[in-house]
Amino acid sequence: MTEIKASMAGSVWKLVASEGDEISDGQDIAILESMKMEIPIPAESSGTVKEIKVNEGDFVNEGDVIAIIE
């Protein structure tokens, strides 16, 4: 089980994966918006998205868990 964490503070602009999705290492899970930039948050391992911990529009701090991959 791996936690996918926000790489920087910002708001969740788009969730591009859903719970139950099979994803591969490096595939984007979510896109944050921060500093007026789109910040892709990729998975760091392959697996199934077990849980998505945030909603679109939420503010997240650096290190906050965005999703859990199993």
């Binding site: 920087m8 503070a9 500093m35 007026k36 930039m37 892709p40 650096e62």
Partner: protein, 509 residues
């Protein structure tokens, strides 16, 4: 027994290192014997070895646990010290320390690179009076490293532990290559941490190779095994001159690796959308010449050595794929060290800017982003090697300054036709300037108003306007960028300037 037999017996014993059980223990961990490492490192083998017989009258301390001498890498002389961890875990006694000091002094006299192959448990406590506090005690090793810094390249290959005071050897090197799983660096071991401060932690978490190469930044390159670390060191040195007095060696010019998309197709029109800066670098540099440093640390800024038409060039590039390419305290530090490294050894610099600025918010202010950013600006500003900045897409705010903007005397500030240079991007600027007005408008009128103002703003910072005002020196078509850089670096080769006259600056650290 004849004198010759005595010599041969002794020499054989010393060359074999410590007891067999320690050799076996090392092999189990994928560690090579120190003399095998050296054989792999040098073109042939070690050419000159001094104090081979150090401490030969003591039992079980062959060469006093360290090999020091001179060999050749890529046909060039280098000095080396290499711990033998089969001898008392590579610990330092009085003669170990003296041997290291002497080979450093040799590197200084000969003006050749100094390599440290570290695999050592630290000081031999039983010998502390002889090896620790005095004028030629272990402190002198670090003093010498500091003196050698910037004169000759200093490379550390970390194969095992580098504990307590010994951890400063990597700290003072230009580059630290760590072998995953075996290399570690720490001031106090996990056992000590538990006893003294009550923390329970594993060695890997506290001072392992992966941690140092991705979190602390004390490691630069994570190697999967010893031979990968050694291969890296040989490649790394090929970009460097023997000392600060020489220019780096040129290699045969090679075309970039083949690619499908052109630079133009690669860069999204939407300034805020990410793209992978590695793909641009790949299109500018000679095939397989990109040698990345600190890949896993602060990935929002890419730093690496490369060749453009055979000429070594140090590249700093914002990576929009990671943290939007925004600069953070760690990326500013990473930049400062890399710029100093290249400038010290006459390697020209290339800044590829696609930067929204420095990060804002409580977290980074508390981390001292202002002083870290100032460190980067100082190093960049003081660098007197040929430096070219290319505005790839955007350079906003202090980001323009940090990436060798026009005020910092780059030899050229170039821009691609789609580039934007401004205090801030259109969205942020319109929000800042018209916040009250936007608020006062009925909601349905806001989007049209914002769009109109953003368009006005974009016209105001149009790249042809900036070229007309001579803010930038040229607009370059993306498919001509490599050629343009090559011709400019050639022209700037005779650059000869002194930054300013003084003892040294008072650096923001």
């Amino acid at each position: 027994m004849s004198t010759n037999q005595t010599f041969e017996d002794r020499a054989k014993k010393i060359a074999a290192g410590g007891a067999e059980k320690y050799h076996n223990k090392n092999s189990e961990k994928g560690k090579m014997f120190v003399r095998e490492r050296l054989q792999l490192l040098f073109d042939d083998n070690i050419d000159i070895e001094d104090a081979f017989f150090a401490n030969c009258q003591a039992e079980g301390l062959p060469a006093d646990g360290v090999v020091t001498g001179i060999g050749k890498i890529n046909g060039e002389k280098v000095c080396v010290m290499a711990n033998d961890s089969t001898v008392k875990a590579g610990s330092w006694g009085a003669r170990t320390v003296e041997k290291i000091i002497r080979i450093q002094e040799t590197a200084l006299k000969l003006n050749v690179p100094m390599l440290y192959l570290v695999d050592s448990a630290g000081a031999r406590i039983t010998d502390q009076i002889e090896m620790f506090p005095n004028r030629r005690g272990a402190g002198r090793i670090f003093h010498n490293q500091i003196k050698l810094s910037g004169r000759v390249p200093q490379v550390c290959l970390l194969f095992g532990p580098s504990a307590a005071g010994g951890a400063y050897i990597p700290a003072f090197c230009d580059i630290v290559v760590m072998v995953d799983g075996n290399a570690s660096m720490y001031l106090g071991s996990p056992r000590m941490a538990e006893k003294v401060i009550g923390e329970k932690v594993t060695l890997e978490e506290m001072g392992g190779a992966n941690m140092h190469c991705s979190v602390s930044g004390c490691g630069d390159v994570l190697a999967k095994d010893e031979s990968e670390a050694i291969t890296f060191a040989r490649k790394y040195l090929s970009y460097f001159p023997q000392s600060y007095r020489e220019l780096p060696k040129k290699a045969e010019s090679l075309q970039p690796a083949p690619f499908e998309k052109t630079i133009e197709e690669l860069i999204p029109e939407n300034q805020n959308a990410p793209f992978d800066m590695y793909h641009l670098i790949q299109r500018l540099v000679d095939e397989e010449s990109f040698c990345e440093i600190k890949k896993k640390f602060a990935p929002e800024l890419i730093t690496g050595l490369s060749r453009i038409e055979g000429r070594p060039v140090g590249i700093l590039a914002n990576q929009p794929r990671a943290k939007g390419g925004v600069l953070f305290p760690d990326s500013a530090d990473k930049a400062a060290k890399f710029i100093q490294l290249c400038d010290a050894f006459n390697i020209p610099l290339l800044f590829l800017a696609d930067i929204p600025g420095f990060m804002i918010g409580t977290k980074v202010e508390r981390a001292g982003i202002i002083r870290h950013g100032a460190k980067m600006l100082s190093a960049m500003s003081e660098a007197t090697v040929p430096k070219i900045s290319v505005i790839v897409r955007k350079a906003y705010g202090a980001g323009l300054y940090a990436m060798a903007g026009p005020a910092f005397e780059p030899d050229a500030c170039l821009a691609l036709p789609s580039a934007q240079i401004a205090v801030m991007g259109p969205e942020a600027a319109v929000n800042a300037v018209y916040a009250n007005k936007i608020e006062a408008l009925p909601e349905e009128e806001r989007p049209a108003f914002i769009k109109e103002k953003q368009e006005e703003y974009k016209e105001n910072i149009d790249i042809y306007r900036l070229a007309s005002e001579m803010v930038i020196d040229d607009i370059v078509q993306p498919n001509r960028l490599r050629e343009e850089l090559a011709v400019r670096y050639e022209a700037y080769e005779s650059k000869d300037v002194t930054f300013t006259e003084r003892k040294h600056g008072v650096y923001p650290v």
